[in-house]
């Protein structure tokens, strides 16, 4: 069974009196433990698609199922609960909480979202920090570590609650090429170790090659849909 499936997915934003289509009827499915990239230029709809998969936004039309849950049926609270239980997030700007240490940042989802008991929490956080190679930086604050290290911490935070799915919106955009490569290697390793599905977006051609499955978006449509349309017209 697919982890994520989309049918005729449409997302339209209303700007003033004008409807601006961001996603124009896409179909796709993603299997568990995949390492998937949505690629395309800025404004192609990558972030919009990731936001919908991450239950941060609702489709205007069509069906999007994540872990067999139709995300259109989730209200604000249910969506937050769903994200907390099943989805990890990695952000372009790392988005670590500056007043918390590396350890506490990774601990945050277990402490403030899932409320794990303290000892179990500590064991899991140390395990994740070990996995991303940040054990020795556990007591530092985000402003005391490098960009690559921050993204490692962010990956550990995304994985700490053992989600089925991790979404990463342009996770390497603020990293140099070598660091970006290492971060993607780490994400792959995490996928292998924890059987987590990674879905990320990028517009960097050097990075997209790291993905095992690539969906190319252009002007709100997937490349495969465009090709099918062109074949149909022909």
């Amino acid at each position: 069974m697919a982890l994520i499936s989309a049918e005729l997915l449409v997302k339209t934003y209303r700007v003033g009196d004008i409807d601006v289509p961001a996603i124009k009827g896409v179909d796709f499915s993603i299997e568990p433990s995949s390492f998937v990239a949505f690629v395309g230029p800025s404004g192609s709809g990558k972030s919009t698609l990731l936001n919908m998969i991450g239950c941060l936004d609702h489709p205007t039309f069509g069906t999007l199922k994540v872990l067999d849950t139709d995300i259109a049926t989730l209200d604000r609270r249910a969506a937050a609960r769903f994200r907390g239980e099943h989805i990890g997030f990695v952000f372009q700007d790392f988005n670590l909480i500056p007043v918390l240490t590396v350890f506490e940042n990774v601990e945050y989802p277990l402490r403030m979202v899932q409320k794990w008991p303290a000892e179990k929490r500590r064991t899991q956080v140390l395990r994740m920090l070990e996995a991303v190679g940040m054990s020795d930086q556990a007591d530092k604050r985000p402003d005391q570590i490098s960009g690559g290290q921050k993204q490692r911490v962010a990956i550990a935070r995304a994985l700490v609650s053992q989600p089925k799915l991790v979404l990463a919106d342009e996770p390497t955009a603020n990293l140099d090429h070598d660091t970006a490569h290492r971060v993607l290697e780490l994400m792959k390793k995490m996928r292998d170790d924890f059987k987590t599905t990674f879905v990320f977006s990028t517009h960097d051609p050097k990075i997209m090659g790291e993905a095992e499955i690539i969906f190319t978006l252009e002007d709100g449509r997937l490349d495969s849909d465009i090709q099918q349309e062109e074949l149909g017209h022909a």
Partner: protein, 414 residues
């Protein structure tokens, strides 16, 4: 909850200067309010006790209509012995009443055989009056200590003594018109001179109650008023209600009540000064609420505005809206609690300091009254709870805004 408080405290410490400035405002506000309550409260209670313990007592019972025409000291509105006995029985039954003093009051002429002037005379039982108005004896600036006034003696106010050039031991004459309209006179020896409490105009003299009845040729032991002293002044309102209920049962032939119960505040124009102090206390509390409300709301609005992306992040990773709300409310709560604790400690230290310093002031004719501010635990708790509640209320709107923030918009915020 501890997790929320821990993160909230770190967020407050993130902007130390702003947090400290906000705390400083709360602390200054609290000190201002608590000091004002303590100083104004002690001044008020001193002022009230000057009147109650020197002249009025805490409560007074009169015949209905007496107070309305009290300037004339009407003899036809005195209480008859039967009525007095019933009042005294009611007072005996009330455990909150410490003691009481019956008085016969009348207006008369005071003569030193060379000059004559008007005087307001209080016929009293010395022992009972001293128990009911314990400061009365201390106002005697000339004359021997001991019983306030014996039979054949008179205590006169200082201004009258000076105006009439009357000294201790002089013989004077009191002339009064009794209820039937006939005039009677009686000689008295000046036993003491009383200091006024409210400045010029005090014309109250004191003679023995039996002399008063004799002078007025009363056939019965009538009483103009009964001044009452309570064991606990704070129960004034409660006792007033009880006495009104009990004495309200005493009715005339038409079934209308014949007695009135008045508190000191009903009888003294200075009660409006006490009310003014209460009003000023309320006003300064409103200022405190405004200070806390504006300063905490300002700091929380800034906190939300500066942390929009952070809010988007924690919302995206699944933090429930209610928990985001509680994170920001906790910051307001901690500001309120820390400000309250610091403000209370500093205020109590300041009150203690004033008590060590013992500054003096004058009130009316009274000089060198020592300012000894005190504050009730209830007042401190009320203000503390007020500050904390207002701090939470001030955080409510920014916290609500943070909890309702759309994660996508928040994450895009630059």
């Amino acid at each position: 909850m501890l997790d929320v408080l821990s993160i909230a405290s770190r967020n407050l410490l993130r902007y130390r200067r702003r947090t400290l400035l906000t705390l400083l405002l709360i602390v200054i506000g609290m000190i201002a309010v608590l000091l004002f309550i303590a100083v104004a409260g002690s001044f008020k209670s001193m002022m009230v006790s000057q009147f109650t313990d020197s002249v009025l007592g805490h409560l007074q019972v009169h015949r209905k209509g007496y107070v309305a025409s009290i300037d004339n000291l009407p003899l036809n509105l005195n209480m008859k012995p039967g009525m007095v006995a019933k009042v005294e029985e009611a007072l005996k039954q009330n455990a909150a009443v410490e003691t009481w003093s019956p008085r016969v009051k009348f207006g008369g002429m005071f003569s030193n055989f060379a000059e004559t002037t008007s005087i307001r005379v209080n016929g009293i039982d010395s022992a009972r009056e001293a128990a009911t108005t314990p400061l009365l004896a201390s106002r005697m600036i000339e004359g021997e200590q001991g019983a306030l006034v014996g039979k054949g003696q008179i205590v006169i106010p200082v201004l009258l003594a000076r105006g009439m050039k009357t000294k201790i031991g002089d013989t004077v004459v009191l002339v009064a018109t009794n209820r039937d309209g006939s005039v009677n006179g009686k000689t008295f020896v000046v036993r003491g001179i009383l200091e006024g409490i409210s400045g010029p105009g005090g014309r109250d003299g004191y003679i023995h109650i039996d002399d008063a009845r004799d002078l007025l040729r009363m056939q019965e032991a009538e009483v103009s008023e009964i001044a009452i002293r309570l064991k606990d002044f704070s129960r004034l309102g409660q006792v007033e209600t009880q006495l009104k209920q009990v004495l309200g049962g005493l009715t005339n032939k038409e079934g209308k009540p014949v007695l009135d119960v008045h508190t000191w505040a009903d009888l003294s124009p200075f009660s409006s000064l006490a009310k003014m102090i209460d009003l000023m206390t309320l006003f300064i509390k409103i200022v405190l609420v405004s200070i806390v409300l504006v300063s905490v709301m300002n700091v929380m609005i800034m906190a939300v505005f500066e942390r929009i992306r952070e809010i988007g992040t924690i919302a995206a990773i699944g933090t429930p809206p209610s928990r985001i709300l509680s994170l920001f409310l906790a910051e307001g709560l901690m500001l309120g609690i820390v400000g309250t604790v610091a403000g209370t400690v500093l205020s109590l230290a300041a009150i203690f300091g004033i008590n060590l310093w013992r500054p003096t002031f004058a009130f009316g004719q009274q000089q060198n009254l020592v300012m000894a501010p005190t504050i009730a635990t209830g007042d401190v708790l009320t203000i503390a709870v007020l500050v904390v509640v207002v701090a939470i209320i001030a955080s409510l709107q920014p916290a609500w805004k943070a909890s309702r923030m759309d994660p996508i918009s928040a994450l895009r915020h630059v």
